[in-house]
Amino acid sequence: MAALCEGYTLCGLVPAVNRRSSEIKGIEEERDSDHVIVTDSSRSVTLYKVSDQKPLGSWTVKQGQVLTCAAVFNRLTNEYVAVSDNKVIRIWKEDDIILDKAFKATVSVTFSSSLFSRYIYIYIYDISQSFSNCIHCQMQTAPVEEVEKEVQELLSRQDPKDPQPSLGQLALALVSRSLADPKFYSSRALTQLVPIRCLSHSVCPDLLPLALEKRDYFLCQLCLLFFHDIPEAVTCACLKTFISLSDADAEKLSLEPDSVSFVEMLISNERAQTGLQNGFSPALCEEDRTDAVDDPKAKAKEKQKASPQQTCPVGKHKAALINEVLQTAYSEALLLPHLKDFSSDQVVLFLRYLEFLYLRYSTDGFSQMHGYRSPSLNQVMDWVCMLLDAHFTVLVMSPVAKGLLLNLQSFVRSQVRLFSELGKIEGSLQELTKMKMKKDVGQYSIEVIELY
């Protein structure tokens, strides 16, 4: 039961200079019944603790501006919302000191003072277009730190399931400013915008080339991951850059953690790897090579030079970046001409890496063992085929590539043999399905075993 107690004065009203009478625009409950926010008719909003009769904070709009509705408190976000001059929405938090520095957005819809917090949010949604226009204007002039802060704020307000298309516009604005002003570049803002699924390469075609130019390889990686419409020319440009990166530089990068973890697992398994499985062993590989190299001396030399590619020829960050390219969508006909532009060193290194992946995948069924996103064996094979297609003559002529190609050939041959053996086994195994399957052990059984 509520009891009516003796009243007391919470605050007195200061008569406004230019007004005939003072009045209160509104009183709203804040975090609990002991806290209220009072909006007076002029320019200020004050937070009071009722039991102490003490003001805890006060915010005022600039001279010349007027608050046109009572400020309300959003308990979900702990933010205050108010409207000034019937058209500017202001959102701030308790620790914002100066109201003008907090979030504000000018809207085309006119507010009337009859507004409630839940409605304010509906309006914001509707007016997102003009609100983002306003943000864009800011984006064109503000320093990098401020832009990053704005983007952060904006993203924290987004519903991740339903991102607003205007964010794409924002990215566009950032990119165009970076292109115009070489001193301006915000990796942080862009890397936050790319994973929001409202961007694509077509929406912002300059973004990925810009990232490449700025050597922002983490952003490149994100673009390759999230954009599904990257033209083959750009994909190849990325690949070329990644392959040419020095490993020392690449290791300093910070990349998407899962992609690095995958390569690490690949490499650490390589260390643990001993005998080979799945129908392939180095011995078999050498045996097979006899018909290719006849001179015994040359053979011995060749043997020494061309050990199968069991160590990763590139550093792990470089590998993670290349893996990202391997997983992109492409059309072969469009890709081939660009692939032909690669230098022979680039081709050899790339092929060695692909061979490494192929061997790793084939020798321990690695691709099935982990939960990370990674290139599939088929993707790897497709790239091997394309690379051989585009550069076959160069590779055959190059002395460096010879051992590599021989290895690849013998490995492919051993695989083909393995698969033909598997074909035979499949025939026998099919017979098994005709046999009566052994009964499931279940919770209890009585069996007879014999020891010899």
């Binding site: 953690p257 690490e264 697992m265 919770q443 209890y444 059984s445 069996e447 007879v448 075993i449 020891l451």
Partner: protein
């Protein structure tokens, strides 16, 4: 050799409790493990990772958040707000003291072993306790903070780093000054969520390493308070960090809620350069669930979750393909949770808070074929609950061979029940008056004629109690005067004359039960016995040890038997020595005195002492080959070790009086199926 009828039992729903916390003592090489149910176990890493002690069984509602060694003393703290020190000789808590700070999240000792720091959660203070000889005493509070989640002492003892919400605070334990390092929150939507610094490590060079709920491992300069490097390692939480315990502190591992472990090493990024950085080097994935507990020794990473203990050697420090480089998973306790009444065909299963008594099924023996039709199904006869919630968990239990007595013990009490079981009537009656000597028991065992109950108790003693229809009477306490460590094996001989005991000091003593005094002690061997049994006819004592060695000792001659000497001369087969689970029981075949039956988690084996021992080059697992050979040739190819791997994940193997075997299996997949789901992992394109 012979045919065996086997009761294959899979209805024991044993469910190990998740590992919550671990502490490794690098001097004694002992690992202490605390489980979610409050149980504390000790593994001896110097002796083949043998689980030498179950210090204390759990208890409902007891949650241990942190363990800590101070010298050879073990302390724990938990959400009940108490600090407990354990009596490692008598396997019970020595004392518990209330820290008056609300739930405790973490506890840490300084390197001199003189001070213990403990962090309260609700009240947010770091409390310092002085470690005295027989207790700990509150010394002072460091200044009050927000909730403290993690703690780490600087090796000099001059500073403590404390991980909390959104920050790390560094206390100078002398000047009481503090400074703080602010930890970034996650980006995007998680920006509004506080970041929890789950783990913090303070290194000798004043580097501070932190792991947090935003998935970061961060390296800080603790003197200047600057952030040196951030490694984003997971999209989930970095739950725990461990620094290599030896000299150089050049390696740190981080465990995540995805089940991965990531290693960082302090190395120069390019060969030949002097300046070193913390570089992320390796990722391991041995767990499907959160890695909440980690230990980093100089050669191995030890992690615990999804109920298993995993020891993963770091390959750069050991030779490839040796036993030392093998990954070890310890999934089952190294002691028996199953007792078998071999005369009555009954099984007793021990759970933390209850016991189940089952009668085995039956079949017509005459039917040929590998699997016999089950005429009568197995039946659960009794489910015995330990009374109330909040009670201590069961630490040991036993069923008499005739099936008419059942006993169990908790840390506080012993219970004895008389059972009467006929085909259509079951009665159970609690024996109300037990001798007062029967207390503080950690191992129970009945004599073969079911007239005696043996209980291992405090100070390495054994209490002997006589049972008859109506009465339970104290007879004697057996004790070897110089033994201190707890007895973990009790093994009476079939004829009632001997009782063999083994303790965690690796001592085996044999007592004469007629004279109630020590008969002899088996010469000490360096590895702990994991199973001991006395042969019913020859009177030889057979012991198997954590290092897989087998000995046979004649109680008459008081010396090793000729067979045992020959085995030592020739050596065990390498494949026998490479097994990584201990033999937990030994039985003998009354029809063939030359047969010794043993089992570990992955096999059971009959050693035929009349056959030649296998040499190193002999094919050890040869049952399939022998099977395909004609009879005369088979005999020529046979060797003494006949191993059967038909049954896996064995909790127990027993030989019944009718010479049929009872194997109790607990497939790991069944345990995994009962675990809660791991954190949701987003698969690409879902």
């Amino acid at each position: 050799m012979g045919e065996f009828k086997v009761h294959r039992v899979r209805f024991f729903d044993y469910m190990p409790s998740a590992i919550r916390s671990m502490a490794f003592n690098s001097h004694t090489e002992r690992l202490a493990v605390a489980r979610a149910d409050g149980a504390v176990e000790i593994f001896n890493f110097a002796d083949n990772y043998f689980q030498e002690k179950q210090v204390i069984a759990g208890r409902d509602g007891r949650s241990i958040e942190a363990l800590c060694w101070v010298g050879c003393r073990l302390f724990s703290a938990g959400l009940d707000g108490e600090i407990t020190e354990y009596d490692l000789e008598n396997l019970r808590p020595r004392y518990s003291i209330e820290a008056y700070g609300g739930p405790i999240w973490t506890i840490s000792g300084n390197s001199e072993g003189t001070l213990l720091a403990q962090a309260g959660c609700e009240d947010g203070t770091v409390k310092m306790f002085e470690v005295l000889e027989d207790r700990i005493q509150f010394q002072r509070n460091l200044s009050r903070q927000k909730r403290i989640i993690s703690l780490s002492w600087h090796p000099s003892g001059a500073q403590i780093a404390a991980g909390m919400m959104d920050m790390i605070r560094i206390f100078d334990s002398e000047t009481h000054a503090t400074h703080r390092l602010l930890v970034d929150r996650g980006v995007g939507a998680s920006k509004s969520r506080e970041v929890v610094v789950w783990s913090v490590a303070c290194l000798n060079d004043h580097t501070i390493i932190s792991g947090d709920s935003a998935g970061k491992v961060q390296i800080w300069d603790g003197l200047t308070g600057t952030l040196i490097r951030t490694h984003l390692v997971t999209k989930w939480d970095v739950l725990v960090l461990a620094v290599s315990q030896w000299q150089d502190e050049s390696s740190v591992i981080a465990g995540t809620s995805e089940g991965t472990i990531v290693q960082f090493q302090f190395i120069s990024s390019t060969v030949g350069q002097q300046d070193k950085l913390w570089v992320r080097t390796r990722t391991f994935k041995n767990h499907s669930h959160d890695v909440r507990a980690l230990v980093h020794t100089d050669s191995a990473v030890i992690s615990g979750m999804d109920t298993q203990l995993v020891v993963r050697p770091l390959l750069d420090k050991v030779e490839k393909n040796t036993q030392e480089s093998a990954l070890r998973k310890i999934a089952f306790p190294h002691r028996n949770l199953v007792s078998c009444a071999k005369k009555a065909g009954l099984l007793l299963f021990q759970f933390p808070d209850h016991l189940e008594l089952w009668r085995l099924g039956e079949s017509d023996r005459n039917t040929p074929g590998e699997s016999l039709p089950v005429k009568r199904k197995p039946e659960k006869l009794i489910q015995l609950k330990t009374k109330l919630q909040g009670e201590d968990h069961i630490c040991c239990s036993a069923l008499s061979p005739c099936g008419s007595w059942l006993s169990y013990a908790t840390v506080a009490a012993v219970r004895l029940y008389r059972l009467q079981i006929s085909s259509n009537n079951i009665s159970i009656q609690k024996v109300s008056k037990l001798p007062r000597e029967l207390k503080s028991v950690h191992q129970l065992c009945f004599s073969s004629d079911s007239c005696r109950l043996f209980a291992s108790s405090s100070f390495s003693s054994v209490v002997v109690v006589a049972l008859d229809q109506t009465d339970c009477k104290y007879l004697h306490t057996l004790k070897h005067k110089s033994s201190r460590q707890p007895i973990h094996i009790l093994s009476p001989s079939e004829d009632g004359q001997w009782l063999a005991t083994a303790n965690t000091d690796c001592e085996i003593h044999v007592f004469n039960l007629r004279k109630m005094k020590l008969h002899c002690s088996v010469p000490a061997y360096s590895s702990c016995p994991t199973a001991v049994s006395i042969h019913p006819t020859t009177g030889n004592l057979v012991s198997v040890h954590a290092d897989q060695q087998i000995f046979e000792f004649s109680l008459k001659q008081k010396e090793y038997s000729e067979w045992s000497r020959q085995l030592q001369r020739q050596g065990l087969h390498p494949l026998w020595l490479q097994r990584d689970t201990p033999v937990t029981s030994i039985a003998f075949n009354p029809n063939n005195p030359a047969h010794i039956m043993l089992h570990d988690v992955f096999m059971f084996c009959i050693i035929d002492q009349s056959l030649p021992l296998p040499e190193a080059k002999t094919k050890f697992y040869n049952q399939m080959i022998l099977r395909s050979l004609p009879e005369p040739q088979r005999l020529r190819e046979s060797h003494a070790f006949k191993t059967c791997k038909n049954f896996q994940h064995l909790l127990s193997v027993n030989l019944l009086e009718d010479l049929s075997l009872v194997v109790v299996e607990r497939p790991l997949v069944d345990i995994v199926a009962q675990l809660p789901a791991p954190v949701r992992q987003k698969k690409f394109a879902t």
